[in-house]
Symmetry: C2
Subunit: 352 residues, 2 copies
């Protein structure tokens, strides 16, 4: 990929590449979501899937937080489960996501379609094109997908899970079929993300929200190989790659070996410790989203602590340790983004 | 406390003290529980609270796994929430635990009783005496309590929680009242555990099951001081102290600084890595409980991997990374305990 034109050079993209920045960049997972009045109004008339599949609505949801707050990146409005439809599964939100006829046995894999997801998910590409046009170079636009493990867990459990018993049993008891499933997801996801990049996504985040349900050994044996293939297939796109996981502090080095240049972490580890354990990586995180419900002084103190720990580190992107909670007051989001810019300075020297 | 008589010297107690053992000791969190036919039969006629409050029934539930499997320690049947009743809160299981009129404001602390829990929970002491008599020195008996943070979270949330929003808000927004609450819990818990030790408990485990919901900073500021006072108050009892937490891999060193000699860990970290990060500590764990639902070869392979990583380490106690799941086949529990003894040898030299 050619270097982006100067107008698109941003703090966010520079920090992903571990280059100097004038202030710490900030965006928030689920920044386009239920805590915002515009999005809530949209949801009274449209389902989540309707919004995701209607480029004008997805574009509108993407832009609302950018218009309201001083954020350094937009992320396209979509759902990590959309590729499951492209793979032939039926998806609904009731309101938790539910997959009809989940994958329970190796023979269920035969039900999966193998048409390229890039085509059947073209509406996401169209939403990306619309959003890029509206953003007009103001801030870069992030595309995303679910990680192979997290998607496989939904396909097998049929919805959210606490213990992931069916997924773990499939992984451990049918290693051949499990590998087949992971490879199918990688193929579909590569096609989907290539389409997103071709449509204008300027960075890609892979969400492995449930990786922390696994032991390091299960992660290394059952998840890491396919995830490595995904990242190595994405390298050619020439955009920064972010890999986010929750609960993976116990095996952060394995997690980081999957191949992304930027590692997204949850709040269960000090950000300074994460930098020490991730030499050569940019780090994104990691405020507990519950703090956005706290009074301003409490929120500010916690944000400043993170900025202090990351100070002097190249490649720091301020974010939450998980998605914004629906109960979050939008004014706290505004204040937090402003504090990050006001107090967040990254040294040109220092560690990392 | 005097040294225990030779008949009570056990692999488990020796491993807690990081002394040589003939084979790796093993017990399982929730080994007295819903996966066992005898306990399930008991539950058709009695509630959880009835069993816990009737020493003969609690003793029977405690002994069932000891009679069936080659375990190296018994743990008294009780519930971590019992001290909440001693503190004046009303508790029910529907079937999830529910606390009536939870603590939501600092002024709610006035509702809490301050009578010594040792008296109102005397039935646990009686169950311990009965169980010690029945065990007759065969294996030692572990007493236990919930950690201050985990108990406080139930008192505030009123039951199980996913995000612990009310608890985190209380901790962050009312630091004075939070400290007061933690200190009250420490006082009640000390009285309760002194009574347990006086009744014959030969080791004490503190369950901080939800500590992993916190950031390292919240843990250090809001939880560690009271937890340190608890452990320092328990030191005089002269029995091994075990501190179990889940999701704390990101701040394991802080967690271990609370003062227990034995640290119980979940499956989200390699046991070898845990030993490296916990010099001078005995380590207990850490098989994923979901593996007890797997076919034998899968279970055996995972158990042997843990034994291999811990091999040569003094002070290793085999356990799960969380409680036994209700769906667990008892025969798998039997096989696992036997494999640990058969394949688990601790070197007299080596690391740690």
């Amino acid at each position: 990929m050619k270097s982006p034109p100067p107008s698109l050079e941003s703090r966010f993209l520079r920090a992903c590449a571990r280059r100097d920045v004038d202030a710490v960049p900030v965006w928030f997972m689920r920044q386009a979501g239920r805590y915002l009045p515009g999005y809530r109004a949209l949801r009274t008339r449209h389902s989540i899937l309707d919004i995701a599949k209607t480029p004008e609505l997805a574009c509108e949801a993407t832009l609302e937080p950018i218009r309201k707050f001083a954020l350094d990146a937009a992320i396209i409005f979509a759902d990590i489960l959309l590729p499951l439809e492209a793979m032939g599964l039926r998806l609904s939100f009731v309101p938790a996501p539910r997959i009809e006829r989940p994958i329970r046995r190796p023979s269920d894999l035969k039900r999966l379609a193998s048409r390229p997801a890039g085509e059947s998910l073209a509406f996401v590409g169209e939403a990306i094109r619309l959003a890029r046009r509206e953003l007009d170079g103001k801030v870069p636009l992030i595309g995303f997908a679910g990680a192979p493990f997290t998607l496989a867990s939904y396909m097998i459990e049929g919805g959210p899970s606490r213990d992931f018993l069916l997924t773990k049993a499939f992984l451990r008891e049918n290693p051949g079929a499990w590998t087949n499933l992971m490879e199918r997801i990688v193929r579909v996801t590569l096609s989907y993300l290539r389409m997103q990049a071709a449509s204008g996504a300027q960075a890609i985040q892979i969400f492995d929200s449930w990786a922390g349900a696994l032991s390091p050994e299960d992660y290394r044996a059952g998840v890491l190989p396919a995830t490595k293939r995904l990242f190595s297939g994405l390298k050619g796109l020439g955009v920064p790659l972010i890999y986010f996981g929750s609960g993976a502090s116990g095996f952060l080095e394995d997690f980081a070996s999957a191949g992304a240049g930027v590692i997204g972490i949850d709040w269960r580890i000090d950000i300074g410790e994460a930098f020490r354990r991730l030499p050569g990586k940019a780090v994104q995180g990691n405020l507990d989203p519950a703090l956005l419900l706290a009074p301003r002084p409490v929120l500010k103190k916690a944000a400043l602590r993170i900025l202090r720990q990351a100070s002097g580190r190249r490649g720091f992107i301020f974010n939450l340790g998980h998605g914004i909670l629906p109960q979050t007051p939008p004014d706290n989001v505004r204040a937090l983004a402003e504090w990050v810019h006001q107090y967040g300075r990254q040294g040109s020297g220092g560690g990392g």
